[in-house]
């Protein structure tokens, strides 16, 4: 017999001795092993916290909101009397509602356009190799990691009507003569809200879109270069089409975050001046929680739901259609 054969035999014998079934063991040990082996039971066990969370904190409030929107419940009078579509008629007839609705659309569309654009530019830069890349990456991610409270203080200071450093710099360059009152004028206030929101969401969008950029095989970029495509043509014919599905995902995430967001509005302007920055979610909050009219607040908040659902379905459909690989 050759050495090779012998080695082979040793190789097959050794694992056997290791995994040899032990002598019959006492009952408790066997029982425990059987429990851990029951995958069906384990699956249910591990899913339980998630299911409890979703039912308790998503499904229950959602159903409650639907019920509220057909009632006349307020914080002062919590008895539930059904009033049919009265709350819905009231909000649909309210001028503020339509202003908030328009603002929500403006806020979402402009923010998303800017976010996708900036995220693409940043992603293009960040997939390249250059010195100090880690620092740029760190800075790009910083807004996402900054606590909202801290960011709010900084932005309130930056946009302050009297002490704004932005105004100070602009004045120093001689670009403006008087303070801008960013949060005091309708258009500038909306601009400020959008700017801060973009600042907050761009990091996530960049990370998502960067993944899309990196997923383009290096050889495809090389091929395009050999085929004589310059920067713009490569961007138009290769990079944008190939990152379209993941951009759509970024838009979907961003749009949901933007559409339902009230943090920035609440911190910066509280909807003012004269409802110029009021969005549906902030108005729902002011009406339902601060104003105590739970029923109307619920109706306003629910108004968002079908819109978000429709947007999500439309975007996911588009992604599936443009799937390229």
């Amino acid at each position: 017999m050759t050495p090779a054969h012998r080695a082979d035999e040793v190789g097959t014998v050794a694992p056997d001795t290791v995994t040899r079934v032990p002598e019959p063991t006492p009952r408790p040990q066997l029982a425990r092993r059987r429990l851990a082996d029951r995958e069906g039971f384990l699956a249910k066990l591990f899913l339980l916290p998630t299911v409890a969370y979703i039912i308790g904190l998503v499904a229950f409030p959602f159903v409650l909101a639907i019920v509220f929107s057909f009632s006349d419940v307020t914080t002062g009078n919590p008895s539930l009397d059904f009033v049919g579509l009265r709350q819905w008629r009231t909000i649909l007839g309210s001028r503020v509602f339509w202003t908030a609705f328009r603002n929500t659309i403006t806020f979402t569309v402009i923010s998303m356009a800017l976010i996708v654009l900036i995220a693409h530019v940043l992603a293009t830069v960040l997939v390249k190799d250059f010195k100090g890349k880690w620092l740029v990456r760190f800075c790009v991610l910083l807004p996402w990691t900054t606590p909202v409270a801290l960011a709010a203080v900084s932005w309130l200071w930056l946009l302050n009507s009297i002490f704004s450093p932005i105004d100070w710099v602009l004045r120093w360059f001689g670009l403006i003569e008087a303070n801008m009152y960013y949060l005091g004028r309708p258009v500038l206030a909306m601009g400020s809200v959008i700017a801060v929101h973009v600042w907050r969401i761009v990091p996530v969008a960049t990370v998502i879109i960067m993944a899309g950029h990196m997923a383009i095989p290096g050889e495809i970029n090389d091929a395009a270069e050999i085929d004589g495509a310059g920067f713009w043509r490569k961007l138009r014919e290769i990079t944008i089409p190939l990152t379209l599905p993941i951009s759509a995902v970024a838009v979907l995430f961003g749009a949901i975050l933007t559409f339902a967001d009230m943090t920035v509005v609440f911190i910066l302007t509280r909807g003012g001046p004269t409802q110029a920055t009021q969005v549906l979610s902030s108005w729902a909050f002011f009406k339902g929680i601060e104003g105590g009219d739970l029923a109307q607040g619920a109706a306003v908040a629910l108004f968002l739901f079908p819109l978000l659902l429709a947007a999500a379905i439309a975007i996911l459909r588009a992604v599936r259609r443009t799937e390229v690989m």
């Binding site: 090389d222 091929a223 043509r233 290769i238 390229v324």
Partner: protein
């Protein structure tokens, strides 16, 4: 006539990991030749090709295409076309748009582009797929699309980076044949990178064997095979590899097919080196018999050797038996014991 492609003292040094991927390479192609860069993974052959293409900048040295130095020129200005290992087809474009893509940079007339693309597609037999997306094509068809895309640019040189490695074994043989025919018909100089010595032997007019960023040998396939420059080339090319037997200050080498049972060697016994071997194992591969044996008569004790007995030789061999084999003296090669470089013949009999 200037060389189509020439590289002089080419070096590429990667800062990351301090790697000398290409370490002083001089190569010149001949007009219309099929030059194969052969070496194990990580030997620098792909980096060399990418520098010729203009996708990497060399650290040192010159690249000439058509007699002009092209260092610093972008790929599009070099008159080259490249086929990638993955084919790098644009997945969102149809076959037609893939093929016309390189033409858009130079050819403004849409109909002229289409005409050129269908010419290339017909040449490669993919005319019926023009409206399909790459994901609906087989591996072989994708390769042809990649070739068509390279072809329409009328390049002065084709650069092919392991274009067969994504195909399954069966398809690879026929694709190899097609590649060779394709190049012979066009007569365009081609540089082909591979780690597969069978491809290299089958396709190349000349083979450049590369190891650790350095050229070990340049020569025609039969030359590289029968007169390897050193022990690396001797063992990298040929399957099974050349037998090397340690004899102290030098190594004795001979190809497995040159080592046969003595009764199969014919009459001229004068020039034979006789080898007494102990046979351990016999493999039957495509009719040939591969004999795994040890011998103590040539140099170090129990030196391993492999003999390949062609299907046409009927001599009996048996496992676990001592038997006498022989090698013609003209088939013996000698290598330096320290450097592995081939040296002149030495006496083999004591």
């Amino acid at each position: 006539m200037a060389h189509v492609v020439e590289v002089r003292g080419l070096k590429k040094h990667f800062e990351k990991g301090d790697v000398r991927a290409v370490d002083g390479v001089d190569i010149a192609t001949r007009e219309g030749e099929y030059l194969v860069l052969l070496g194990p993974s990580g030997c620098g052959k792909t980096t060399l090709l990418r520098m010729i293409a203009g996708l990497e900048e060399p650290t040192e040295g010159e690249i000439l295409i058509g007699g002009n130095v092209v260092n610093g020129l972008p790929p599009r200005a070099r008159g080259i076309a490249m086929v990638f290992q993955s084919y790098a087809l644009y997945p969102h474009k149809t076959v037609l748009d893939n093929i016309t893509f390189p033409l858009k940079a130079t050819m403004t007339d849409r109909d002229a582009r289409r005409e050129k693309a269908s010419w290339a597609a017909d040449l490669l037999g993919i005319g019926e797929f023009l409206d399909r997306k790459p994901r609906h094509l087989s591996g072989g068809e994708r390769q042809r699309v990649a070739l068509a895309r390279a072809l329409v640019r009328d390049p002065s040189v084709f650069l092919l980076d392991e274009p067969l490695s994504n195909l399954d074994a069966k398809l690879r043989t026929s694709a190899r044949d097609e590649l060779k025919q394709f190049q012979e018909r066009l007569g365009t100089t081609t540089i082909y990178v591979t780690h597969d010595q069978v491809e290299a032997m089958g396709l190349g007019d000349r083979i450049v064997v590369i190891l650790n960023g350095k050229v070990r040998q340049i020569g025609a396939p039969q030359e590289v095979y029968s007169h390897p420059a050193d022990t690396f080339v001797a063992t990298f090319i040929g399957s099974p590899p050349m037998n090397l037997i340690d004899r102290g200050d030098h190594l004795l080498g001979f190809r497995p097919e040159n080592c046969l049972p003595i009764e199969a060697m014919g009459s001229n016994g004068d020039n034979l080196l006789e080898v007494d071997v102990q046979i351990h194992r016999i493999e039957y591969l495509s009719g040939d018999r591969h004999v795994y044996a040890t011998t103590s008569g040539l140099g170090s004790d129990d030196a391993h050797l492999i003999a390949r007995i062609p299907a046409t030789v009927n001599a009996a061999v048996d496992e676990d038996r001592a038997q006498r084999f022989a090698v013609h003296e003209k088939d013996l090669r000698f290598f330096d014991g320290d450097t592995g470089v081939r040296t002149e013949s030495r006496p083999v009999r004591s």
